[in-house]
């Protein structure tokens, strides 16, 4: 169960608990394609990406946004979220199972966040938190913010 988070306990500068995904494999991409309905071959067909000179299929940006959303709701109960916004800044290559040593980091997403604003509006007690998701090599995949109304 997600623990309740109270307005009085969160301040500007409070850090969101860091969250790290499993290394993303092509199987995760196929699963996300089926679940979301996004069958752009860019995300599963190597013969398609070769046409554009890309070495690998790449993860759906919305999968990274989904993983980031999961990181948020591991901290703040989902019912409190009022806004969630991201800007995509980098592509994510999945891990190669035959070269795990060199490809695990690029496919592992870590989400970090920090509260940047805290205010009351009418009866709502709101926080805004900046978030950033990056891979194990430090490459940023998305940045964004979410707003939550806390008890």
């Amino acid at each position: 169960m997600t623990k309740e988070v109270y307005y009085k306990d969160v301040n500007v500068g409070t850090e969101m608990p860091s969250f790290t995904s499993d290394p993303i494999t092509r199987t995760h991409l196929v699963r996300y394609a089926g679940a979301s309905g996004d069958f752009n071959p860019l995300h599963h067909d190597n013969t398609f990406v070769a046409l554009f000179g890309l070495p690998n299929v790449i993860a759906h940006g919305m999968l990274i946004m989904g993983i980031t959303g999961r990181a948020i709701t591991s901290w703040i109960p989902q019912k409190h979220m009022t806004k969630y916004k991201v800007r995509f800044s980098g592509m994510t290559d999945p891990m190669d199972l035959n070269d795990a040593a060199n490809t695990t980091n690029r496919a592992t997403i870590t989400v970090k966040g920090k509260v940047v604003k805290k205010w009351e509006e009418g009866k709502d007690k709101l926080i805004e938190c900046e978030i950033e998701s990056s891979d194990g090599n430090g490459n940023v995949k998305l940045t964004g913010t979410f707003v939550a109304a806390l008890p």
Binding site: M1, T2, S21, D22, I24, H28, R31, Y32, G34, A35, S36, G37, D38, F39, F52, G61, M62, L63, M65, G66, I67, G69, R70, I72, T73, P77, Q78, K79, M81, T82, K83, Y84, K85, V86, R87, F88
Partner: protein
């Protein structure tokens, strides 16, 4: 190149009936595991955590257009966007009411902005931006989510 005369275009509305199995399938895909003890899968767990029923995860509504609206391709083609240059720039949601299994969501998407920006590393060459807003209403006519997507042609 996106066709600027399309600014203000409203796409035909479409509806999507939210299914319990799809919510669970989606959350397994983003959580990279099979979790049965979650507000997205079990009504009992959802009730214990203060929800009326199972809820959707924060990005599930991406399924509405992809499964309910015939996919993004008709929109992209209609706007004259070159698929080979297309990137997803930004995605934003405002959550107004919870969405539960059985809800029937009607989505209306409109082109609200089209603009270009010169590339920093390539003067004289432009990136083009198309901003789509989608209003999602449930079967009671309540707006449940407002979405905003920025598509980029590089």
């Amino acid at each position: 190149m996106a066709d600027k005369s399309k600014l203000g275009t409203e796409f035909p509305t479409f509806t999507y009936e939210v299914e319990k199995g799809k919510i669970a399938e989606f959350v397994m895909a983003i959580s990279q595991k099979e979790g049965k003890d979650q507000i997205y899968v079990s009504k009992d767990v959802a009730k214990k955590e203060g929800y009326d029923d199972i809820v959707i995860s924060p990005t599930f509504q991406t399924c509405f257009a992809l499964w309910g609206g015939g996919g993004l391709m008709p929109m992209i083609t209609g706007l004259g966007i070159n698929l080979g240059r297309l990137l997803h720039g930004e995605e934003e949601y405002e959550y107004l009411k919870p969405i539960h299994p059985g809800d029937v969501i009607t989505c209306k998407t409109k082109v609200v902005d089209m603009y270009e920006k010169e590339k920093k590393n390539k003067p004289g060459s432009f990136m083009e931006f198309t901003v789509l807003e989608t209003e999602m209403k449930n079967q009671r006519g309540e707006v449940v989510i407002k979405g905003r997507s920025t598509l980029v042609e590089r």
